[in-house]
C-alpha cells in the first residue's frame, strides 16, 4: 500500500468535514474519489497535503506515519497536489512556475522542464508569459506540469476538469490516463463522476464527509446508487 488513510476526522471549527474516512491507494493505481458539492473532497486532499490538520486518525505513506508532518515535508516524501482552481503563481512566468515545482528537489530542473514542454507543447510557446494570463485549460496544464516537476510518488488531482470546455475536459482526462500509463500513482478527485470512474482502477464515493461506497471503477459506474446520485441516469 502506498497510501493508507485510517479513521481520519477533520473539522473546520464546529463543522465536521471528514467523518472517520478510511481509504487506500496502491502503487501504480488510479483511484477516483467522487462526491457532490461540499462532500469534503477538497478537505480530504488538504488533509493529505497537510495544509489542513486532521483532528484524529492516521495517514501512512509507504508505511510511514505522516499525519503530523508539515506540508513541505510531505512534498519531500513525494506527495504532490494539483489544487482546486489551479492556484498558479499568476504574475510569475510559466517557466518559473515549473521551476518552483522542483523546489524541493533542488538542482537543475532543465531536463524536466523540457520534458514538460514535450508533453504540453503549448506551454513552451508561452514559457515567458505570466502564468495568470493563460487560458483555463493551459493553466491546468501548468498546474499539472508544476506538480510533475517534483517527481511525485503520489499525485493528488483536485477537479482538474473544473471550469473547462468539454473538449478540453477530454484532453485533461487523456493526459491523466497517460500519466497513469507512465506509472504515476494518481488519486483523482472529481465531481464529474462518469469521466473519473471510467478511467479509474478503483473508486470511492464521499457523501457529507463519509465514504459510503467503494469498489472498482467499473462496478461503481454500473451500480444503481451511483447512477442515480451522480450520473443522472
Amino acid at each position: 500500500m502506498l497510501l493508507e488513510i485510517s479513521g481520519i476526522n477533520t473539522h473546520y471549527g464546529r463543522i465536521h468535514a471528514l467523518k472517520s474516512v478510511d481509504l487506500v491507494v496502491n502503487e501504480g493505481e488510479l483511484v477516483a474519489l467522487v462526491g457532490a458539492n461540499g462532500a469534503g473532497k477538497t478537505t480530504l486532499l488538504r488533509t493529505l497535503s497537510g495544509v489542513q490538520n486532521a483532528t484524529s486518525g492516521t495517514i501512512k505513506f509507504e508505511g510511514v506515519d505522516i499525519t503530523r508532518m508539515t506540508p513541505h515535508q510531505r512534498v519531500a516524501e513525494g506527495i504532490l497536489q494539483v489544487p482546486e482552481g489551479r492556484q498558479l503563481f499568476g504574475p510569475l512566468s510559466v517557466e518559473d512556475n515549473l521551476r518552483l515545482g522542483a523546489y524541493r528537489r533542488g538542482g537543475k530542473p532543465n531536463d524536466d522542464i523540457e520534458r514538460m514542454y514535450a508533453s504540453f507543447p503549448i506551454l513552451k510557446q508561452k514559457r515567458h508569459q505570466p502564468a495568470g494570463t493563460l487560458s483555463g485549460g493551459q493553466q491546468q496544464m501548468v498546474a499539472i506540469a508544476r506538480a510533475l516537476m517534483a517527481h511525485p510518488r503520489l499525485l493528488l488531482l483536485d477537479e482538474p476538469s473544473m471550469g473547462l470546455a468539454p473538449l478540453l475536459v477530454g484532453e485533461i482526462f487523456n493526459a491523466v490516463q497517460g500519466l497513469k500509463q507512465q506509472g504515476t500513482t494518481i488519486f483523482l478527485v472529481e465531481q464529474n463522476a462518469y469521466a473519473a470512474l471510467a478511467i479509474a482502477d478503483r473508486g470511492y464515493v464521499l457523501e457529507t464527509g463519509e465514504v459510503t461506497l467503494h469498489d472498482t471503477g467499473e462496478a461503481l459506474l454500473a451500480s444503481d446508487r451511483v447512477k442515480q446520485a451522480y450520473l443522472g441516469l
Binding site: H72, Q87, L88, F89, G90, P91
Partner: protein
Amino acid sequence: MKPAKFLAPSPQPLSREGRGALSGDAITMGADFLQFLVSGITVGAIYALAGLGFAIIYNASTVINFAQGEFIMIGGMSASTLTAAGVPLPLAILAGCAVAMLGGVLLAKFAIEKARNASVVTLIIITIGASIFLRGLAEVVWGKEFHQLASFSGDTPILLLGAAILPQSLWVVGVALVLILVIGFFFTRTLAGKAMLATSYNRLAAQLVGVNVRKVVLAAFALSAALGAVGGAVVTPITFSSSEMGIMLGLKGFTAAVLGGLGNGLGAVVGGLIVGIAEALSAGYLSSAYKDAVAFVIILLVLVFMPNGLFGKRGTERV
C-alpha cells in the same frame, strides 16, 4: 553634543539670500536646487531601503512592520557605539546587522507567528508594540543621547556645479544602490528569491510545491532587518544616531512603501526617493519646519487619491 538637525543631511546651500528673490541669480538658484536634490536623494536612499523592508515583510506575511525604523536605529546605534569602543567599522556594521536580524527573527517567531490568525490590525499593533519595546531597550543599553560616527571617507565636500556633496552622501547612495540591486537579483534570479515571491503571490500553492512558508516569513524579517541596519549605519555619520531615530525613519519608509504601492519593491524604492526629494525641497524652499509634514501629506494624498500607490499594490493572492 548638539546634533545637526535630524535628517537635514547636507550643508546649507551656498546662498540663502538669492533664493526666492525675483532678481535671484539663476546660477545660484540652480546650485540651491542641486544642493536640495542631493540631500533629498541621500535621505531618500535610506527611505527607499526602509520602504523595501516594509515591502519584503508585507509580501511574505501581509504584516505591516512598524518596527522597521527600529532596525535602522539598531544599525546606527551599533555602528556608532561599537566604533567608539574601538571595534573596526566593518565589524561594527556587521554586528549591528546581526543584532537587528536577531531582533527581526525573534519578532517574527514569538509575536507574529504566535498570532497567525489574528487580524491585520492586531498584527500592526504587535509591531508597534515591538518598536516601542526595541526603542526602550535601546535607551537602556545606549542611553538617550545622540551618538556620532566618523564619516567613512572624510568630510571634505565635493563641489559639483555649485553644490557641495558630502562624501558620506555618496556612501549612502552607493550602498543603498548596491543593496537594492542585490535584492533585485535575489528576487528575480534565484530560486530562493522566487520561492519568497511565490509565497507572497499564493501561500497555499507555495506550501504545495514544498516551500516552508514559516521559514520564508522569518527570512523576510531577517532580510528587512539587515537592510535597515546597514542603512542606519551608513546614514549615521550625517544624521547622528539615537534610540529615537527609528520613529521618523520608519514612518517615512512606510510612506515610501505606500506611495510605491504596498508590497511593490521597486515602487518602494522610487517612493523613498520621491519622499526624500520632496522633503528636501520643501525644507529648502519653504521651511525645515514643514519637512516632516511632507511625508504625512504624501501619505494622505496617496490614501485618498490612489490607494494602490504609484505602481499598484501587490495583493497576496494570485493575479
